[in-house]
């Protein structure tokens, strides 16, 4: 299965190191491939360096693509984490 969804980074600090770490840990729970795409750049959600190098600030729109057996769960969890500001206050 392959899913694709548009999400926006809403936490103030953007995809900073600790947020990336949370995302990688979440992504690693799934078998599916998880890719974040911003214009021509894309990053493997299981690679912290890749995510950090996206340099996605607050307000950045990203396309999340999950593909594999648990693509649906993976999408739900990634979406939850991003929309929940990575459990940050702001």
């Amino acid at each position: 299965m392959k899913l694709q969804r548009e999400l926006q980074i809403v936490n103030r600090l953007g995809l900073h190191a600790r947020a990336c770490a949370k995302l990688v840990k979440t992504a690693n729970q799934f078998e599916s491939d998880i890719v974040l795409r911003q214009n021509e750049h894309q990053a493997d959600a299981k690679s912290i360096m890749g995510l950090m190098m996206l340099a996605a600030t607050q307000g950045t729109r990203l396309t999340v693509i999950t593909s594999g057996a648990d693509a649906e769960d993976a999408m739900t969890q990634v979406q939850h984490l991003i929309n929940n500001r990575f459990e940050e206050d702001e």
Binding site: C20, K25, I48, M49, A55, T57, Q58
Partner: protein, 583 residues
């Protein structure tokens, strides 16, 4: 004796012996590996990565219960970076394919990564290059270790480091945690700025530190006796006995004083005869807000915005600025005085003006409001961002370095223009943001009454006012001795500005160093100043001084000081002023 300067964190003084942590990656060896030795070299690299991982995990498991909550998360980041193919697998490929040694293979990948981060526009995300450097540095350290080199490593240090000062290229969050509870006196690093992990964690540990001392590793040797003076950002190497005695005394005074001052935290800044004085904070970084809160400031008298613009290729967008201003406005109770860009002179922006030669290096050159008016594309987004953010808090705009009324008129016109634009675009903004001017050029001070008629407040910037009035080049050491806040001309100008404000019935504040120096508090009160803005660390001290002062009588005593014709006796008179009825 040698004196080194960097960026001081905190205000404490530490005296102790240096422990130089040679993190083993100053000289990176570069050599070819023969085909038969390749698998051994790869193994050496993998071992180093494994050793770093084991070490980080050990630190994470043994975190003290009072460690800042984000420490474990920082270590997580480093663990994940270590496991990222870019760091742990690509160098292996390079060793294999190009027959390079492990150090050089790692370095070439790390350099590419760090270059990439350097180009990120967002300052916070860009600063993450330090994490890359730290993780790579740890692997390099292990690689050096495996070659039989014995870097003095944190792990090999004794459990008590009392009266010792850690000297290193850079400290990782994990390093700082390993240092906890070992009782060392301070640390000194060659890398790092006021927002590095080192600095942030140092503040939370309450340790004095000097960061950004570039060649410190080469200049300081193990066991050197050091004095670290965080307030001035100075490290004194091998001081003589009299100097040592002097700093020991200062250190004791500082400690006793700090203990007494914390009692004043929630007391009001009221004089003995009941006049309330407004004490505000100067801030630069969002985390300065903590200091402001804990010292009970009534608001922000100077928010320096240059920080947002420095060390980056392009100026921040209007939205980025808007977010930054909102962040501060939402967290501060009371007014927040946002000073528009004061770039030029000693504060250069890296980019943003690509088509212009950097001729604006002079303090008398194209800087501050001059630069802003000459480049509306730089100035207007900032004004728009402030007016928009002002919906969320009590913002004020302060224009630096005004010297002529024409500049003021042009600035007011630009603000009007920006308001009209926002109105047309139906963007939420606050059209009634008070607009004030910084009075720091003698021309503006002399005719402060004219400026006061068109502005909502004045703020005296004493640092520049003194240098311009006395014609001192601040970067020329040989004329430093002329820098004198008590020069009668300076005091007269300050009096002129305060009077102009009173006559126009607008507030006058002071945001230069003088406002935060308790030696001048009574003098300034006597000149009629009622709003003081200073570094958060000075707030308690000034509050104490205000509470011990009686306003009645001060103006007369101060007039005597201003009329004093005996050179050199001004300092004695101010001393006398400070000693009267201090209990």
């Amino acid at each position: 004796m040698l004196s080194l300067s960097g960026t001081g964190i905190g205000r404490g003084i530490a005296i102790g012996r240096a422990i130089v942590l040679d993190q083993g990656h100053n000289d990176i060896p570069c050599y070819r590996i023969s085909a038969t030795a390749l698998s051994g070299e790869i193994e050496r690299f993998n071992h180093a990565v494994d050793a770093v991982r084991a070490d980080l995990k050990r630190v994470q498991r043994n975190l003290p219960t009072d460690a800042p909550p984000e420490t474990s998360a920082f270590i997580d980041v480093h663990l994940l970076m270590l496991d990222d193919p870019v760091i742990s697998q690509q160098p292996v490929q390079t060793i294999q394919e190009q027959q390079q040694n492990a150090e050089w293979a790692l370095k070439s990948h790390a350099d590419t990564l760090i270059d990439f981060f350097e180009d990120i526009a967002d300052p916070y995300l860009r600063s993450k290059k330090n994490d890359v450097a730290q993780v790579v540095g740890r692997i390099m350290g292990e690689l050096a270790h495996s070659q039989g080199k014995q870097p003095s490593d944190l792990a090999t240090l004794g459990s008590s480091l009392a009266e010792q000062i850690i000297v290193a290229r850079d400290l990782t969050p994990a390093d700082t945690i390993m240092l906890r509870g070992r009782n060392m006196a301070a640390f000194v690093t060659s890398l790092g700025g006021p927002i590095s992990h080192t600095a942030i964690l140092a503040r939370s540990l309450g340790l004095p530190a000097i960061v950004g001392l570039h060649d410190v590793i080469d200049t300081i040797h193990n066991n050197d006796l050091l004095i670290v003076d965080a307030a001035t950002g100075t490290v004194l190497v091998a001081p003589d006995e009299p100097l040592l005695a002097q700093f020991r005394e200062l250190q004791q005074q500082h400690l006793r004083h700090q203990q007494r001052l914390t009692l004043l935290k929630s007391e009001k800044a009221v004089t003995q005869d009941g006049e309330a004085i407004t004490l505000l904070a100067n801030i630069e970084l969002p985390e300065d807000i903590e200091g402001l809160r804990s010292a009970g400031a009534a608001g922000v008298g100077l928010y320096r915005t240059e920080f947002l613009f420095m060390n980056r290729p392009k100026p921040p967008s209007e939205d980025e600025q808007y977010q930054a201003y909102c962040h501060v406005l939402r967290r501060v109770e009371g007014p927040v005085t946002i000073r528009t860009l004061d770039l030029g002179a000693d504060k250069q922006v890296d980019g943003g003006r690509p088509d212009r030669e950097t001729t604006a290096t002079s303090a008398l050159g194209l800087r501050a409001i001059r630069l802003c008016l000459s480049e509306p594309s730089l100035f207007k987004p900032q004004l728009r961002a402030i007016l928009r953010a002002a919906v969320h808090g009590d913002a004020q705009i302060m224009i630096p370095m005004l010297s002529s009324l024409r500049e003021l008129e042009q600035s007011l016109a630009l603000v009007g223009e920006v308001c009209a634009e926002l109105e047309r675009e139906a963007v939420a903004f606050n059209p009634k943001v008070p607009l004030g001017g910084m009075i720091e050029v003698p021309a503006a001070a002399v005719s402060a009454d004219l400026f006061a008629r068109k502005l909502d407040f004045l703020s005296i910037g004493t640092n520049d006012l003194i240098q311009y009035t006395l014609a001192i080049d601040r970067v020329d050491d040989s004329v430093n001795y002329l820098y004198d806040p008590l020069h009668p001309s300076v005091l007269r100008l300050i009096r002129t500005v305060i009077r102009a404000g009173h006559e126009a019935d607008i507030p006058v504040s002071m945001c230069g160093e003088m406002a935060g120096d308790p030696a001048f508090t009574r003098l300034l009160l006597g000149l009629g100043l009622r709003h003081f803005s200073m570094e958060p660390s000075q707030l308690l001290e000034i509050r104490q001084q205000v509470r011990q002062s009686t306003l009645a009588g001060l103006p007369r005593q101060v007039t005597d000081i201003l009329n004093c014709v005996e050179t050199g006796s001004l300092y004695d008179l101010v001393d006398q002023l400070n000693q009267t009825d201090s209990d």
